[in-house]
């Protein structure tokens, strides 16, 4: 096996193998389990780094295995794949650290970390899938690997959430499968290609292709939580905080959004999609989702639920960017894929910290949390401001590109949607910040579990990850113009999709 094949498989193996070993570990082997987890996460990060360097130097990484005559499993690392893979690898490391701290002493940790690793393996597979078939394989694997995480606590509420989650995602998977098989029947097994590969079919197939597009987008739209397919997301909030972080920032919803990008850019091709009149309806759906999600978030008292609706809204920024015809909108969508992940994971880490340390689950209980947990609340504030699009945060960068993209595509209404969303974002985030920083703390917290130790407000394993991702939220904006920023990478991809015409 060539080195380049081995490398790309090693990326998958770096989480799969530790995961499988962890499954069979006894519950008490804490140290070995932790070592395996961290080893996998670090190894994956290093491997992704090697690939990044290689890809930007023009190296090609790919692996192909034929499962049926004319049906290939293809894993490859192109620029778009690496954008998502890097995000996942980095955030996985932090989430693992966080989860180790968060689940300290709770039961069934072998099972948890086993599925956790499978989940990341599936996400990596989605990122690096080289064709729709492979994408689907990992997409469904992700569904299966996340279910045990959602129901991890085993309470009736968790079970209900898990059932709703399955009903939505498996249903979506069925639609996606139909669409993929249909395309396979039309074109045979074709790999993702810059500029898409369906335009070769010609306009005779227009009607069919429009319908298939609907199937495909509905399929991935479930995970991307496009309205009206978003119902599972707030229900899945019953999962432990690291899982929510994973679901919202790294794996599930991202997989959906990423699927939209792959389908629009590398299956249909953005220009061909535009010629089939597919992009405007997609943008409309995204716009509705953005506004609806933000609007619903306003009325949630449960902190995690508020964040969940916020996710519904923010992920559709990515979809909206994809649907804005023109390189600028594309850059906006791509870069928000990364930025939203960093910001949202910070918010969930912090929400988890409040719950784990103080027993605070509701917005109304957050009064004075900033004094008791200043670092956590600082991280939360940075991420929340980022979500609103405040200057010097990652959110501002994506929002700027999206607004320009809307103007470039001639969809000025999309700009208004984004502004509306920002206002709503402010309306549901600012009261939280106000309560946390400005209101006096109550005499007792609902259920204080972790006492403050000197200046450290909670376990350092719980504190470090949100701080790191909060710093990244700022760094992504401050160093946006450097060669290694997400923005630079997104521009590289966009340049390839639009045959070199880059702003």
């Amino acid at each position: 096996m060539a080195l380049n094949e081995a490398l790309i498989l090693a990326i998958l193996a770096s989480s799969l193998v530790p995961g499988l070993i962890i499954f069979v570990l006894a519950e008490s082997r804490i140290r070995l389990r932790t070592t395996l987890n961290l080893f996998g996460a670090v190894a994956k990060l290093i491997l992704v780094g090697v690939l990044l360097a290689g890809v930007s130097a023009g190296e090609i990484y790919g692996f192909r295995h034929t499962v049926l005559p004319g049906l290939d499993l293809v894993v490859k690392a192109d620029a778009l794949a690496l954008l998502f893979a890097t995000l996942s690898a980095v955030l996985w490391l932090f989430t693992t650290l966080y989860a180790i701290g968060y689940l300290e002493g709770s039961p069934h940790r072998s099972r948890f970390f086993g599925f956790f690793s499978l989940c990341v393996t599936a996400t990596m597979g989605i990122a690096m899938a080289g064709n729709l078939f492979t994408f689907f394989v990992f997409y469904e694997l992700l569904t299966l690997a996340t279910y045990p995480l959602v129901v991890h606590r085993g309470t009736p509420q968790a079970m209900r959430g898990g059932t709703v989650y399955l009903a939505y995602t498996l249903g979506g998977g069925a639609l996606l499968l139909t669409g993929i098989v249909w395309l396979h029947g039309l074109t045979g097994s074709v790999d993702f290609a810059h500029g898409g590969y369906l335009s070769a079919l010609g306009p005779d197939y227009g009607g069919q292709l429009q319908f298939v597009f609907l199937l495909l987008i509905a399929g991935v739209g479930v995970k991307a939580a496009l309205v009206p397919l978003h119902g599972w997301l707030p229900q899945a909030m019953v999962a432990p905080a690291p899982v929510s972080a994973l679901l919202h920032a790294v794996a599930v919803v991202k997989a959906g959004a990423f699927g939209v990008e792959r389908i629009v850019y590398e299956v249909y091709g953005v220009e061909f999609a535009q010629s089939l009149d597919l992009l405007t309806p997609l943008a409309a759906v995204a716009a509705v989702t953005i506004v609806w999600g933000s609007f619903r978030a306003l009325f949630q008292n449960d902190l995690k639920k508020r964040l969940a609706y916020s996710t519904v809204s923010q992920v559709s920024y990515i979809v909206l960017g994809t649907a804005l015809f023109g390189p600028v909108g594309t850059v906006g969508g791509l870069v928000h894929l990364v930025h939203q992940g960093i910001m949202k994971i910070t918010l969930f880490f912090c929400a988890g910290n409040y719950a784990e340390t103080l027993g605070v689950h509701k917005v109304s209980e957050l009064d004075g949390a900033g004094r008791r947990m200043p670092l956590t609340t600082l991280a939360f504030s940075i991420a929340a401001l980022g979500m609103m699009g405040a200057p010097l945060t990652a959110g501002a960068v994506s929002k700027a590109w999206l607004l320009d993209g809307a103007a470039e595509a001639g969809m000025h209404w999309a700009g208004w949607v984004l502004w509306t969303s920002s206002v709503l974002n402010a309306a549901y985030f600012l009261p939280i910040l106000w309560r946390a920083w400005a209101r006096p703390a109550p005499a007792v917290w609902p259920e204080e579990r972790v006492p403050a130790r000197g200046r450290i407000e909670t376990l350092w394993l719980l504190l470090l990850p949100p701080l790191a991702t909060a710093i990244m939220t700022i760094a992504a904006a401050v160093f946006a113009d450097s060669a290694w920023s997400p923005l630079a990478w997104a521009r590289l991809i966009a340049a390839r999709e639009y045959s070199g015409a880059m702003p």
Binding site: T66, V67, L144, V151, L177, V181, H184, G185
Partner: protein
């Protein structure tokens, strides 16, 4: 001398007889050793078929139509490999399962030997009357295995099963009688060129009788009534053998006869068979969603999954997609169902209960077995990367290629229904266990055999090319 075709039949007969001579309950080690050899023989045969194409073995040296031929092609070689590959782990499993000397074990090994000999002989047969004898061999061995438990429920289930099997056989036999009357031969090879669409009415009736008889034995809706009590009531290793292999054997016959001999007639019934398949999926899944007994759930799932096999018929076409789908489904379901019954057997022994409710908390106590159940479930749901997924993929592709939209909807809906009943079990297992629930340790070998079978059904999805090239060889 070492023709694997002949030994695949003689060897199990030998060890079945030897086990009988050894006495009640004995013969486990002998069976496992012989099954290892049979696995080798089946693989060698498959390799021969890939290299040299289909071939025959003229028993008695006479050759058809006077004598009886045994024939092996890609399809039969696949079924033979599958049979041995499932039987071997199940034998290991059964050895541990029956370690306590339950009454069901007394004739288990002998009956299993005859069952496997019958299955191998059936897959290799190329003669309508010889097929009748092998069908009887398989049927009586299976009934004996179900009845061996001896409880009232098991005896009633066995009787129900026996009547279905016997009536099916006699219907099939009358078909053979009419064919012999019409053409003067029962050799498939001699018959194939003689049957065409202008066949006399008697041949049509014969075809219908044989089809109906075999459908009764396959337990396709609405002939499924005997299956759930028989498969749901038997000891776990027996259920696994029956669900994984025995019902497949009569399906294999329907498929083979409609491909090789009665192709000009089979097309007329194709849509009806597909509709029955769809009904089986719906009804089997619905019952699996309702039952409170975990083993009945798995048995009803077999009823549903058999439906998929019959969706193949309306889509059979020269492109071979549907045939590939059917074979893939048969193999994947065989492995997965064997794994599932094995896993359920372990769970029932461990918890001492046979209801879904009794499963609360096993996720924490028996993760390996539950994982095996889950993997097998993934195959049944048709999710990637399992063999069941490839089967579903091929079926949908075949349906779309022929513009037969309805079947796509059936396949998709069937997968979702399967997910619904599989997750009924899984979610129960994730619930918190009541603190006082009893728990009996179970031999690890049983957990591992279930896991190995489930993993095989999963990895099958990555080896489709090899399977399909074997299927294509010699056909």
């Amino acid at each position: 001398m070492t023709d694997p075709i002949a030994w695949l039949i003689l060897l199990p007969l030998f060890w079945a007889t030897a086990a009988f001579l050894l006495g009640p309950g004995r013969g486990a080690r002998l069976a496992i050793a012989a099954l290892l050899a049979q696995c080798g023989l089946a693989l060698q045969l498959a390799a021969d078929v890939i290299d040299g194409g289909a071939r025959t073995h003229a028993v008695g040296g006479w050759g058809a139509p006077l004598g009886i031929d045994l024939a092996v092609g890609g399809l039969s070689a696949l079924m033979l490999v599958l049979t041995q590959a499932i039987a071997l782990p199940l034998a290991v499993y059964a050895r541990a399962y029956f370690a306590d000397g339950a009454p069901a074990v007394r004739y288990f090994w002998t009956l299993t030997g005859f069952l496997l000999a019958g299955l191998n002989a059936l897959f290799l047969a190329a003669d309508l009357f010889n097929l009748y004898v092998t069908l009887e061999l398989v049927g009586l061995a299976a009934v004996g295995l179900v009845a061996a438990g001896g409880s009232a429920r098991q005896v009633a289930a066995a009787l129900r099963y026996l009547f279905a099997a016997l009536v099916g056989s006699v219907m099939y036999l009358l078909g053979v009688a009419l064919i012999y009357g019409a053409h003067g031969t029962v050799s498939l090879q001699t018959l194939a060129p003689l049957v065409d669409a202008r066949a006399p009415a008697a041949v049509w009736i014969a075809c219908g009788l044989m089809l109906a008889g075999l459908m009764l034995k396959t337990a396709i809706f609405p002939f499924h009534y005997w299956l759930p009590p028989a498969h749901g009531g038997a000891p776990a290793p027996v259920s696994a053998l029956l669900s994984a292999l025995v019902v497949k054997a009569s399906f294999y016959l329907i498929l083979r006869l409609s491909l090789e001999v009665f192709a000009p007639l089979a097309a007329t019934a194709a849509t009806a068979l597909g509709l029955l398949g769809a009904a089986a999926i719906a009804w089997g899944s619905w019952q699996a969603l309702r039952t409170v007994h975990i083993k009945m759930l798995v048995a009803w799932s077999t009823v549903a999954q058999l439906g998929y096999l019959f969706l193949v018929f309306p889509l059979l076409a020269p492109d071979g997609l549907a045939l590939q789908a059917g074979v893939m489904q048969a193999i994947a379901h065989g492995l997965a169902k064997a794994a599932m019954f094995a896993a359920v057997g372990v769970l029932m022994l461990a918890t001492g209960r046979d209801t879904l409710e009794g499963l609360a908390g096993v996720a924490g106590r028996m993760p390996l077995t539950l994982f095996a159940f889950g993997l097998a479930g993934v195959t049944l749901m048709g999710l990637p990367p399992s063999g069941g997924f490839l089967a579903k993929w091929l079926l949908i592709e075949a349906a779309l290629t022929h513009g037969q939209w309805g079947w796509v909807a059936v396949v998709i809906a069937g997968g979702l229904l399967a997910a619904a009943y599989v997750f009924r079990v899984l979610r129960q297992a994730f619930l918190l266990a009541p603190a006082d629930s009893p728990f009996h340790p179970v031999p690890r070998s049983m957990e591992w055999t279930a896991f190995v079978l489930a993993t095989a059904s999963m990895l099958l999805g990555l080896q489709g090319v090899e399977l399909m090239s074997l299927l294509a060889a010699g056909s």
